[in-house]
């Protein structure tokens, strides 16, 4: 270690995981509508309860 180690960017780990997750979901052919709902729940509203996640995944679909 000859000089100070370069300081990494600040890592908001949950935000990093969620962002990558949403990008991977799009690649996994999950509908854009569901991805948008999950983005709002996780990134904007920051709701992490089962009820909020279920609402994001199934929306208003019957039987959900």
């Amino acid at each position: 270690m000859s000089g100070p180690t370069p300081v990494p960017k600040a890592t908001d780990v949950p935000a990093q995981v969620f962002e990558q997750f949403l990008a991977d979901l799009a690649k996994a052919e999950v509908s854009a509508e569901v991805v948008a709902r999950l983005r709002k729940t996780l990134m904007e509203d920051q709701l992490f309860t089962d009820a909020a996640l279920k609402q994001a995944i199934f929306g208003e679909e019957p039987g959900s």
Binding site: V7, P8, F48
Partner: protein, 817 residues
């Protein structure tokens, strides 16, 4: 993110009134145990986060911030307990003050309270890990993989990542759990439809062929295709009042047979064996000590976990830190994993029984509908009751809990009401006695019933399809999340692991310059193995010394913080975290903090004055960036080693004629100052392993050293032909000699009259001159302008000058060559 310029603490914890000025620089609080250092740490944490972790969380019992944050004399007046900090926020170019009282810890008075400042302070408050104590440091290193994972998760705020993982998995599992019942419903609907159509296989061709035969009888046009909305009775008028709907004889007979087959399947030995096995499995689960409530408690914890949104327990409203409460519930859930495994096995085993119950229920309900069409209608009470019992039993089996209820269901679910078969036989008699319908009536009945069952089948299929799609989607989302979070976290841990090893090598380069480490994440765990001198990878506590483990803890913490906060890692409090690091590595730890974290302000507490020296000599601390607590009292809190304080305090003792206390304080102060002077003047002192030096071992050598330095300086000035300097030095030398002589300090070892033990026996008027003499002597070591003790520079290698901090005094010690 922030730099702390100053803190003022009033009546908080063990501190009455204290102001420390950090000026945004590294700062050390040094003092023996019990002198109030931790009070400063608590106050810093409180001001920045509104919490004192020492007073909250697991194992803190009935201790609370509100009740025990205030000084003990103000425990009933928490508003008096106040801490205010002045911060610089470089990113905003603002200086901010934050003040909190223990009465309302979460309501900080912020000036200026602009949105950008408040948002930044909220981010600071969300990072209580800026305070690191040795207890927390060891939790990273010596914890079990599960506990370590929780600690690191808390540090990296991974609880959200984990909560979402658990939530998505639960949703996927739940969606999949609904499918078997829906499959059974489709199968039952399909069988009913086949019976109505009197065909053996449900294909479009066979369905059309069978329906069109009947339609032809009724003169209806043949259907050419089966779509989602095709009606088999398309064109057929509704039943008239004059000719109400009757029991379709042929189908009813087929349904009677199907019902008996389903009941026989339920009564068959194979199912009896299955029910017996399930009863044993569930009884074992229920009989297990922890298992009696285990599964129910698992549901309880899981539900609780999903309901935590505010900073309170969702059950009893007790205030909790959200992350801590989630972690606690998750830990409890982890402990119930064996029950989860057994539960899943039982759920799989229950599936065929549920399918049979669905078939029995569907076939009995069909019979009940036929019975209602009889003239007069038949009341198949036993049949409908058993169908209802099958449905309720099926629901209980799906729910599994309470276990005793499920066991009770298993005990009765195969038991038919004694009169049920008779009721079925009675219906059969009625059906058999029905006249054979005419071809047209038969065709009409056929199409009506077939259409009814086709719609039921379609609805069952639609529900199953929708649920299947939901289950597939939920599983895909859950699997994607697990894969993504694993990838991100493995990448993060790989970076932290590399940084950690580099930091550790920095402080151990003399003996572990090839050190590496492995952070191995797995679900719910974080393995941590370190290289031991090339002999392999082992847990940190296996072979490394306690001092090395402390070093590892600090390095892991620093690596995690650097990756968590990046350039925002500008402030940290290290509360006695390196107490067992051996002296050989202390200098390197100081150098590490200075070199690797040049933009981070460290507030360090230590009870070891040697540490303080290392921090100063390495340059981690500036000359005045530290405070030495010398004692603590409940009335006054910590007292510092300030000259002004000491002489005033001695004078106060003497005013009260308390020579004994005045003498003790003078001795302690001279011992402290003697050490300081020996360090500053680079005085050779007989080494003591325990670091416990007496006054006679420090102050006389310091006096001798300054005499020697003046003498050398005069010779050197003469060498440079600096007559005026020589004269000035001679004047200083004479003044110093007089002060030393007056104090008689150099006769310390031989003259008992000047020894401390004799002081306490002196009268006040005899001791006052002693005090004055020592005050004058210490003053002779200082710069007349800045009043700081002079020091030899540099602090190692060949001395070049004797100087003070302000630069007013600079005496050359370099010979002319």
């Amino acid at each position: 993110m922030i730099l702390v310029d100053a803190i003022t603490i009033k009546d908080f914890r063990g501190i009455r009134d204290l102001t420390l000025t950090f000026k945004g620089k590294n700062f050390a609080v040094c003092g023996p145990n019990g002198t109030g250092k931790s009070g400063v740490v608590d106050a810093l944490e409180f001001a920045l986060t509104g919490n004192v972790s020492r007073l909250s969380g697991e194992g803190k019992g009935e201790v609370s911030l509100k009740q025990h944050g205030p000084h003990v004399d103000f425990r009933n007046n928490p508003d008096k307990a106040r801490v205010s900090v002045t911060l610089t926020i470089p990113s905003l170019g603002k200086t901010v003050t934050v003040e909190r009282s223990a009465k309302t810890p979460n309501q900080a008075q912020v000036t200026p309270s602009t949105p950008d400042v408040l948002a930044l302070l909220a981010r600071v408050a969300a990072h209580p890990e800026i305070v690191l104590s040795r207890r927390e440091l060891i939790r990273y290193v010596l914890a079990t993989p599960g506990d370590r994972a929780r600690e690191v998760q808390a540090l990296l705020h991974l609880d959200r990542v984990e909560n979402v993982r658990v939530g998505l998995q639960k949703i996927a599992n739940s969606a999949e759990r609904q499918l078997p019942a829906l499959v059974a419903a489709v199968k039952a609907a399909s069988e009913n439809l086949l019976r109505a159509l009197a065909i053996t296989e449900l294909t479009a061709e066979k369905l059309l062929a069978a329906a069109n035969v009947q339609r032809a009888i009724l003169g209806l046009p043949a259907l050419t295709e089966v779509t989602a909305t095709t009606s088999l009775k398309d064109g057929l008028g509704a039943p008239t009042v004059a000719k109400p709907q009757s029991i379709p004889k042929a189908q009813a007979l087929a349904d009677l047979k199907a019902a008996r087959d389903a009941l026989d399947e339920l009564a068959a030995p194979a199912l009896a064996t299955l029910v017996a096995e399930l009863t044993t499995d569930i009884s074992n689960l229920a009989a297990d000590g922890a298992g009696t409530t285990g599964v129910a408690v698992e549901n309880f914890y899981a539900t609780g976990l999903s309901l935590i949104e505010a900073e309170a327990c969702p059950l009893c409203d007790t205030a909790w830190d959200v992350a801590e409460l989630r972690a606690k519930l998750q830990a409890k859930l982890d402990g119930l994993k064996e029950f989860s495994r057994q539960r899943k096995l039982i759920e799989r085993k229950i599936s065929p029984l549920n399918a049979t119950l669905a078939r029995v229920r569907a076939s009995l309900e069909t019979l009940a509908r036929h019975a209602a069409l009889a003239t007069p209608p038949l009341q198949l009470t036993a049949v409908t009751e058993f169908a209802t019992a099958c449905q309720a039993g099926s629901m209980q089996l799906n729910a599994l809990l309470p276990l005793l209820d499920t066991i009770a269901v298993l005990g009765r679910v195969r038991t038919e009401p004694p009169e049920m078969r008779d009721a079925i036989a009675a219906l059969e008699v009625v059906v058999t006695a029905l006249p054979e319908p005419g071809k047209q009536d038969s065709a009409r009945d056929y199409l009506t019933l077939a259409q009814e069952r086709l719609e039921t089948w379609r609805e069952a299929r639609r529900k199953h399809k929708a649920s299947s799609e939901q289950a597939v989607r939920a599983r895909k989302i859950s699997d994607t999340y697990v894969a993504t979070s694993d990838t991100v976290l493995i990448g993060l841990y790989a970076e932290v692991q590399k940084d950690f090893a580099a930091l550790y090598r920095f402080i151990n380069k003399n003996d572990e310059n090839a050190f590496t480490a492995k952070l191995v994440p797995s679900i719910g765990k974080l393995g941590f193995d370190v290289d031991f001198y090339g002999r392999g990878f082992f847990p940190p506590g296996a072979y490394h010394s306690e001092g090395h483990q402390d070093g590892m803890g600090l390095c892991l913490y620093l690596a995690l913080m650097r990756h968590l906060q990046g350039p925002n890692f500008t402030f940290a409090v290290l509360d006695d975290v390196l107490m067992s690091v051996d002296t050989g590595h202390r200098r390197e730890v100081c150098a590490l903090l200075k070199q690797e974290f040049p933009h981070t302000q460290f507030i360090v507490t230590t009870h070891d004055p040697v540490w303080l020296r290392h921090m100063k000599t390495v340059g981690l601390l500036g000359g005045k960036n530290g405070v030495q607590f010398r004692k603590w009292s409940v009335e006054h809190g910590p007292a510092e080693w300030h000259d002004r304080d000491v002489w005033t305090e001695i004078d106060e003792y003497l005013q009260q004629n308390d020579v004994r206390s005045a003498a003790a304080l003078l001795r302690h102060f001279l011992e402290y100052t003697g050490g300081e002077l020996c360090h500053r003047l680079r005085v050779p002192v007989e080494y003591r392993y325990d670091g416990q030096y007496q006054l006679g071992e420090l102050l006389p050598p310091a006096v001798a050293q300054l005499r020697k330095l003046y003498k050398n300086a005069k010779e050197i000035a003469n060498g440079w032909n600096q007559k005026e300097t020589v004269a000035a030095l001679a004047e200083r030398e004479a003044a110093f000699a007089l002060a030393a002589q007056t104090s008689q300090v150099e006769q310390w070892q031989v003259n008992v009259a000047v020894h401390f033990n004799a002081w306490e026996n002196l009268k006040k008027e005899d001791f006052v001159p002693v005090v004055k003499a020592y005050q004058a002597l210490l003053s002779a070591f200082t710069c007349p302008k800045c009043n700081e003790y002079m020091h030899v520079s540099p602090d190692r290698e060949t001395p070049e000058s004797l100087r003070c901090d302000c630069g007013q005094t600079t005496i050359n010690l370099k010979k002319k060559t």
